[in-house]
Amino acid sequence: MAITPKLQQHDSVSRDLKHIPLHTRVLAVINIPLLAVTALLACYGLLIVSSAIIGHSDYTLSRQLTGILIGLMAFAVLWWFDYRRFARFALPLLIIPVILVLLPLVPGIGVEVNGAYNWVNIFGLQFQPAELAKPLLILAAAALVSQYRGKLNSGKDYLKVLGMLLIPVVCIMAQPDLGTGLVFFVIAVVALFTGGANRKWLIITAIVIIAALVLLIVVDGYLDSYFERDVLIKDYQKNRILVFLDNDIDPTGVSYHLTQAKIAIGSGGLLGKGYGNAMQSGLGFLPETPTDFIFCVLAEEFGFVGSMALIALFILQFFIILRIAFTAKNTFGSIIAASILGMWFFHVLENIGMTCGLMPITGIPLPFVSYGSSFMVTNFIVLGLLCSIWTRRNAGDRFGHIGTRMTE
């Protein structure tokens, strides 16, 4: 074994791999179940999207394919790239998402859609910067939390990290985009939770949030009547909560979307109406079918069996990610994997849950299925991160201060 002393200083696990066959080495770095499940999910999604966009002139399949292609390139790069290098740059990783989130508010490049500034248009390239902010925020949260090596006990430190992570959440509300704001919040909470934040602080945070929400609702009532207009919480947001509490409150009014979504899902039955026969979306009873209500199209066309197939793919994917988070031998990678899982899980929970009346209605896309190139790129970026973590699951801490949970 020709191992130089110089190398030994820097890398404790440096050895010669010559005696291990190449194909064995290759298999060791690829998480085949994850890639297989994700590929199936993406193909399934593409199938549904191509049916859902029929009759919608604003949506084209080529844009979705472009998103997948760009995403795949980003995926390859990030897989190859050693994610541990990000750990050093917690602050820039936090500032860039904030800039990205505020970008649509800059006159000239921001584009207004449905009263919200979620889009930017730079040199003819139109995308949602908040989507690209998600992986950066995941990295930032993981970098911030992992500094404490899995034990965030000090209240001062906890507040510092929480405060920093809440900045992008507050900024996204300015667009306003409640759905993405909740995603950011979920990322922060999952990072803190799996990063070993003291249970006490977590419970206190939960209580404070619930109290703040109750206070907000009460104060909002007074403010609305005082200013005689809709301030703070908007009426449509209140209505969504009301609809969530009572699904059939006003089938032609505020609960129209939910009613139509349930009709689409329910009329699918066991095997569905067949590919391309989604009448509810085809005749326009359901809005936003390629994006927010894509699950309804699937449930109507492929029925219970098709829905359960999608859910099975998500379950498999999530438990594979959980295993990656479990396996990664450094805290940074583990927290990244967990936060990615948290983000996707929240997307699936909200997107499918709202169509069934399990969650209040807020429009966020379904990973790998919904139409939208920005989010598709984001999904492949985080998939690249996951693969990078898996590939380097046994690598030690080589990059400065990163805490490691390895016992040895």
């Binding site: 791999l17 005696h19 080495r25 292609l69 390139m73 009329s267 929970l349």
Partner: protein, 701 residues
């Protein structure tokens, strides 16, 4: 972009991507001095050289548990949360897609299809010769919701455009006769110019919709208004009943018959609504016609009415009342005149006065108009006096009393009574006068008693019935007096001529009339038992058509038609039904009445002879070219002037027409009502008898 070009580009890109990926992976795992990936820690426990690749792989994938119980537990908690959510979701989808599948399929169908109801055109009403009495005409109608009344600007604009006062526009919108939720009719028969203006300025008239409707049209004005009846919007009650019984015939805003023939023949006239089922998109725009059910138009109904004769009777009745005024009977303000086809029982003409204009009521009755029509000063023009008016029959009733007396042997065909003008069989406290008083008619046979309308003769007939009845009644124990009703021989005999029960004519709202007996009297005077006895006076009054007995003009005419014909047939106005193709579907068949009079032909001939003598004596009938038989009557009504009656039929040998006329407070029957009957016969036979002038009321009855 072409699909094939797209597929080639995607395939190429995927191929390049896979090559790039393979290269990257090769770079990652190539044998370098440094194990940057940390592959080897997983290999440490594997002995080199590796015998079996699988062992290596399994080792490599082997997970090392995290340190710290907290972190480990949190990952498990996360996994549990995911499992719980997906479990809930699966249950939810099972519920929605499997258990409630049918319900949602129904909702989806309801979503995607729209039924448009196509109204059926209401059938016409024609006379026996096919002359249109009621038909339809198109009308452009402005409708809107009730809330429009609060839009002052809109009301003002509509007022200017339509030339209707603002208050009227507002009142029309607020008019809730069609139901609270239904669209209100703002204006009917809107000129095309105004419609065009509204169409050009949709923003100025938001909420106002323009509808093409058909409305009932009365080409002859208020001819036979009472027989034809009127229409109005279907009531909410009817719609609710429909809802309950799940028979959907009407929709809100539909026109239905409210009275008269329009009401009676509703099922024939209304037809069946059609339906078009469209596949619609979410905006409700129809995409495709899936199913169509053509409307079945209502069929035409021909009535037995003869429009020409009806026009004459309407005029004659009105002018007869005017003539009564000229003779000083200024309170005369109502009456009825009808002509029955004796052979078939059909109503050839039936007029009731005062009358109304059915087109005023066609689109629903406004409160103002209703108040007017129900006001006592207007003398209730909506009442069809022919079938609903109740009057004492007076002397016209004597024909039936005679038949009853003859049938039960109370009098014989040649019985004579002496009339001295005063009858005190039961003592002076029950004394009654003949209308000729104090001299009397002298010796009276049946024919002459009918001709001269001798009351005293019929008092004796009444007495002949009363005595045996009283003996029965008297013999019964106190608590079984009611059984005396079984011995109401006179009443039963009178009823068999069609009194005391509706004749069964096919019109709504027919009155029963009344032939009193002591049971009725007990009920009527329940609070004053001392008056609740059946006295000889009650019997005698009834025999001359006075007292508590009541008939409708139709009953009386029907009774005389029965005498003329010899048997009872239900009077009717239904002639036949003609469908849109002009084919006769249903024709009326004469139906015998439920009750038939029992009589001896010899007796009937005697009564008819008496009736013939009346016409001979009334010389004004001379111009009529056929032999008639008839009777006058003058009814005394408390606190009112006398009611004039006259009824006649003819030709006697081959009876065809029976005409009856009553003038409320018109004085003597042989002075006033007689001219109504005379002119009706003159109209039937085309004889000129001059202008209508009432005779002088000589007191003759």
């Amino acid at each position: 972009m072409n699909v094939y070009v797209l597929a080639i580009i995607v395939g190429l890109a995927a191929f390049l991507f896979i090559i790039a990926l393979a290269f990257l992976i090769f770079l990652l795992v190539r044998n370098r001095r440094k194990d940057k990936l940390g592959l080897l820690p997983g290999l440490e426990r594997v002995e080199a050289p590796i015998a079996k690749d699988e062992v290596f792989v399994r080792r490599t994938l082997d997970t090392t548990p995290k340190s710290g119980p907290e972190a480990k537990g949190r990952f498990y908690a996360f996994g549990a949360l995911i499992a719980i959510f997906f479990g809930t979701l699966a249950v939810r989808l099972w519920t929605l897609q499997i258990l409630s599948h049918d319900e949602y399929v129904g909702l989806a169908d309801k979503n995607m299809t729209s039924n448009i109801s196509v109204p059926a055109i209401r059938g016409r009403i024609l006379d026996r010769n096919g002359v249109e009495l009621i038909t339809n005409r198109p009308s452009i109608v402005l409708t809107g919701k009730r809330s429009l009344a609060n839009d002052r600007g809109l009301v003002h604009r509509l007022s200017l455009l339509l030339g209707i006062p603002r208050g009227v526009v507002r009142r029309n919108i607020l008019n809730d006769t069609v139901g609270m939720q239904a669209d209100r009719t703002i204006a009917s028969d809107v000129p095309m110019r105004s419609v065009a203006f509204i169409k050009e300025h949709p923003t100025l008239f938001e909420g106002v919709s323009i509808e093409n409707r058909t409305v009932r049209y009365y080409p002859n004005g208020n001819l036979a208004a009472h027989l034809l009846g009127y229409t109005g919007p279907v009531t909410q009650d009817t719609l609710n009943e429909q809802e309950a019984s799940e028979t959907f015939q009407y929709e809100s805003g539909d026109i239905v018959g409210k009275d008269g023939a329009e009401y009676e023949f509703e099922q024939i006239l209304r037809g069946m609504r059609g339906r078009k089922t469209y596949l619609i998109d979410s905006s409700g725009a129809p995409l495709e016609l899936i199913d169509e059910l053509k409307p079945m138009y209502g069929s035409d109904v021909c009535l037995t009415i003869d429009a020409n004769l009806q026009r004459n009777t309407d005029r004659i009745l009105y002018e007869t009342i005017l003539a009564a005024h000229e003779r000083g009977h200024v309170k005369a303000n109502g009456g009825a005149l009808l002509c029955i086809d004796v052979k078939e029982g059909g109503i050839l003409a039936a007029s009731s006065y005062p009358t109304y204009n059915p087109s005023d009521l066609a689109g629903g009755i406004s409160i103002d108009l209703w108040e007017q029509l129900m006001n006592i000063a207007s003398n209730y023009p909506l009442t069809n006096r022919v079938i609903s008016g109740l009057y004492p029959a007076a002397s016209t009733f004597k024909a039936f009393t005679s038949m009853a007396g003859l049938a039960h042997g109370v009098i014989g065909p040649y019985t004579q009574f002496y009339c001295n003008g005063y009858w005190n069989e039961y003592g002076d406290q029950w004394g009654q006068r003949c209308w000729i008083h104090p001299y009397g008619h002298g010796n009276m046979g049946l024919e002459e008693a009918i001709n001269q309308s001798c009351d005293l003769f019929f008092y004796n007939v009444a007495d002949g019935f009363f005595k045996p009845w009283f003996a029965v009644w008297n013999a019964l124990p106190y608590d079984e007096k009611a059984r005396a009703a079984e011995h109401d021989v006179l009443q039963d005999s009178l009823k068999s001529w069609g009194f005391h029960a509706p004749t069964g004519i096919d019109l709504p709202g027919e009155a029963s009339g009344r032939i009193p007996n002591f049971l009725w009297k007990q009920r009527a005077f329940v609070d004053t038992p001392e008056d609740a006895t059946w006295n000889p006076g009650d019997m005698t009054s009834m025999c001359i058509g006075q007292g508590d007995m009541l008939v409708t003009p139709l009953q009386l005419a029907n009774g005389y038609a029965t005498i003329a014909r010899g048997s009872a047939i239900k009077p009717h106005i239904f002639h036949k039904v003609v469908n849109k193709e002009g084919e006769t579907i249903i024709t009326h068949r004469p139906t015998p009445s439920d009750v038939q009079p029992q009589y001896d032909q010899v007796h009937l001939n005697r009564v008819i002879d008496g009736l013939k003598r009346v016409i001979v004596r009334e010389k004004i009938f001379n111009p009529i070219p056929v032999v008639l038989a008839g009777k006058s009557g003058t009814a005394e009504v408390a606190n009112k002037d006398e009611y004039a009656w006259f009824v006649a039929y003819g030709p006697v040998n081959d009876p065809q027409y029976c005409v009856a006329c009553v003038i409320e407070e018109g004085g003597g029957g042989s002075a006033s009502a007689i001219v109504g009957v005379l002119h009706t016969f003159a109209a039937i036979y085309g004889v000129d008898v001059g202008v209508i002038v009432a005779g002088e009321d000589t007191g003759e009855r």
